[in-house]
């Protein structure tokens, strides 16, 4: 246990020694405070602690205010700041950890100690996730307090962002680690991590788009004429296009072994609940009871958001991570230094 704690302590010292860590943390706090400056109340929306206000003539009910406040977090801040920029900064910061650790004169000391190489490898890997963990935790604490004070409701579901974003980062970082132990090159490991991330994101986005075209739009009662660009809304679901459905199936199949970075980030919407309803249940918050077409649209969007089970997203990503890390660990353990 002393050895594992030592590696974590060393990683903590490493990340606090990096200027980029403090820059990223500063930006995280700034963005979280900007978010905290927004108020969605009965009278409307204000930003920068009331500096700018937009009144809502009909008023905003409390549950809808909560919904707007939280979806801003799950649909904007999490995917774009925590799930993209913060991860890019973290990758740039920590992708040199393994190449530096593997340098001659450094690795010799570590592997000549009474600690198994497998433990050494996985502890080093897990401790590198601290970078993102600290950033996301600080961010979520500010969001949690802001939401609690503004809405007078303490929603602990916000903290699901911490494990989910760490998980997403760990998927991308595992690729960087594999390349690092294989080539000892920081640059190559960073490039490959971005490449795999980009490819998997591309497949997930394509799968999502194709699902929307093949299933969501017809289910919502929308009939699209792609030759003229015209659309027609009806109260009844439209027929599915078998060709699009087939293409969707193929893309989904190709995406199965890839890490679900995008989908895992959006899982947060199913984890945060308001009055027992999660944020994918758009209809429960927005639809008018007598508007059938809107209900159909919200139902179709809910199906789109929940088309993948949690076990599929996490399970297939974990399988990817397990394969990549096993390979990296095998190289690390078998190598002569």
């Amino acid at each position: 246990m002393t050895q594992i704690l030592t590696i974590f302590w060393d990683s903590y010292r490493l990340l606090t020694a990096k200027r980029l860590f403090w820059v990223a943390l500063g930006l995280s706090i700034l963005i979280a405070l900007l978010y905290a400056s927004v108020n969605v109340g009965e009278n409307g929306i204000s930003v920068l602690f009331g500096a700018y206000e937009w009144a809502s003539p009909g008023g905003i009910p409390a549950f809808l205010a909560q919904y707007i406040y939280l979806t801003t977090f799950t649909n904007v801040l999490v995917p774009f700041w925590l799930g993209l920029f913060a991860i890019v900064l973290a990758l740039i910061s920590v992708c040199s950890v393994f190449p530096n650790f593997l340098e001659s004169g450094s690795i010799d000391v570590a592997v000549s100690k009474p600690i198994s190489r497998v433990t050494l490898f996985f502890t080093k890997y897990l401790s590198s996730l601290l970078f993102v963990g600290v950033q996301v935790l600080v961010f979520c604490v500010i969001v949690f307090i802001a939401f609690g004070l503004r809405m007078e409701s303490w929603n602990f579901g916000i903290f699901w962002a911490v494990p989910l974003i760490i998980f997403v980062f760990s998927l991308i970082y595992s690729v960087a680690v594999l390349i690092a132990v294989w080539t000892k090159s920081t640059l190559l490991s960073l490039l490959m991590a971005f490449l795999v991330w980009g490819v998997s994101w591309g497949f997930q986005a394509a799968e999502s788009f194709l699902y929307k075209m093949a299933y969501t739009i017809p289910s919502a009662g929308l009939k699209m004429d792609y030759s003229t660009g015209e659309s027609e809304q009806s109260d009844t679901p439209q027929e599915l296009d078998p060709g699009l459905a087939q293409i969707h199936r193929v893309v989904k199949l190709v995406a199965v072994p890839l890490p679900k970075t995008r989908d895992a980030t959006y899982l947060l919407k199913t984890k945060i609940k308001i009055n027992g309803k999660d944020l994918t249940q758009k209809g429960a918050f927005l639809a008018e009871e007598d508007d059938t077409s809107m209900q159909n649209i919200h139902k179709a969007e809910e199906e789109l958001a929940n088309r993948h089970s949690e076990s599929y997203v996490i399970g297939s990503s974990l399988a990817f991570e397990a394969v990549i890390l096993s390979l990296a660990c095998f190289i690390f353990v078998k190598r002569d230094y």
């Binding site: 002393t2 004169g105 450094s106 592997v111 000549s112 100690k113 009474p114 600690i115």
Partner: protein, 323 residues
């Protein structure tokens, strides 16, 4: 004491072989015994396999074949590593850590309890003369200071054997003197010190026994006295020319005459006394008498030929078989 007679060996290995991928044979059947409580020097030209051998003992490199024990346990036993200290060649420690933190980091990796690590770190910082610099980051240290911290970290787990790979590399003469004192202190504390070095003069001053490696094999080993015994000679300086009569008598005692110096190859000073008697009886003025031994450097050069330190050729690559 002859190594062959030693029974309490901390390292006792046989037929250690290492063949790297690509066919390079770094070690070709190394057998070695290192006595407990001594300073042991492993010499050899660059590429001889010294570092590979140490790395095999420390599990940094896996041997293709290895029989034997270290501290009574099979080589590769992980628990044994907690009783071993190591300063690698060109050691690198995290630049973001302070000197004191490096010692605690290495102690932690070695499984040393926090309280013990703090106490031992302070003690060692004083031993290596770094207590005033202990709270500064490694990135601000000179090469010599880093090497001092490197030496201290090798001792932080209170090891029974300390492996030092080129420990005086980058250290100034004053630092070398202090390092020699630290090595002798380790020996006095009962530790075995295993030094890899190509600085033969340094080793000669501190080592009790040495082994010379060349092309992946141990070509000589023993105490320095044993290895240089055969070349022991006595030189007597005389003043003025010697007469033919006394020259004839000296020749019967196996004395070589060269200018104003007489040389006799004897192991025992007692065998030189009749020659002195002869000289004194003939009223020859004796200006000096010196016992001369071959230096370690001469022995080394004799052993490895013209492949002196830094001049060795890299190991030969295996020839590719034609399909």
């Amino acid at each position: 004491m002859s190594i062959a007679q030693v029974t309490d060996a901390v390292i006792d290995i046989e037929e250690v072989r290492k063949k790297y991928r690509g066919g390079v044979e770094a070690l070709r059947g190394v057998s070695l015994k290192v006595p407990r409580g001594q300073i042991f020097g492993l010499l050899g030209p660059n590429g001889a396999g010294k570092s590979t051998l140490v790395k095999i003992l420390l599990t940094i490199v896996r041997a293709s074949q290895c029989r034997g024990e270290m501290l009574g346990k099979p080589v590769g036993d992980q628990a044994t590593l907690s009783r071993v200290g190591y300063l690698p060649e060109h050691a690198r420690f995290p630049e973001y850590l302070k000197g004191r933190e490096v010692l605690r980091y290495v102690a932690g990796l070695g499984g040393v309890a926090k309280a013990d690590a703090i106490k031992k770190s302070q003690e060692l910082l004083e031993v290596v003369g770094m207590e005033d610099w202990a709270n500064r980051k490694m990135g601000s240290y000179s090469k010599g200071m880093k090497q001092r911290i490197g030496l201290a970290q090798a001792l932080v787990n209170d090891p029974e054997i300390v492996f030092l790979d080129e420990p005086t590399d980058g250290v100034d003469p004053k630092g070398r003197l202090e390092m020699r004192a630290v090595l002798n202190r380790m020996k006095d504390e009962g530790r075995t010190v295993f030094v890899n070095s190509h600085l033969l003069g340094e080793l000669e001053m501190i080592c009790d026994s040495v082994a010379i490696m060349d092309q992946g094999q141990i070509v000589r080993q023993g105490t320095i006295a044993e290895l240089t015994e055969k070349t022991r000679r006595y030189e007597i300086g005389v003043m003025g020319a010697l007469g033919s009569e006394i020259l004839g008598k000296l020749k019967t005692h196996g004395v070589n005459m060269e200018a104003d110096r007489l040389t006799m190859y004897h192991q025992d000073a007692g065998e030189v006394q009749p020659v002195i008697d002869l000289l004194r009886a003939a009223d020859v003025t004796i200006t000096s008498m010196t016992e001369v031994r071959q230096s370690l450097e001469e022995l080394f050069m004799e052993t490895v030929g013209d492949k002196g330190p830094g001049a060795a050729m890299p190991p030969k690559l295996p020839k590719k078989e034609k399909a």
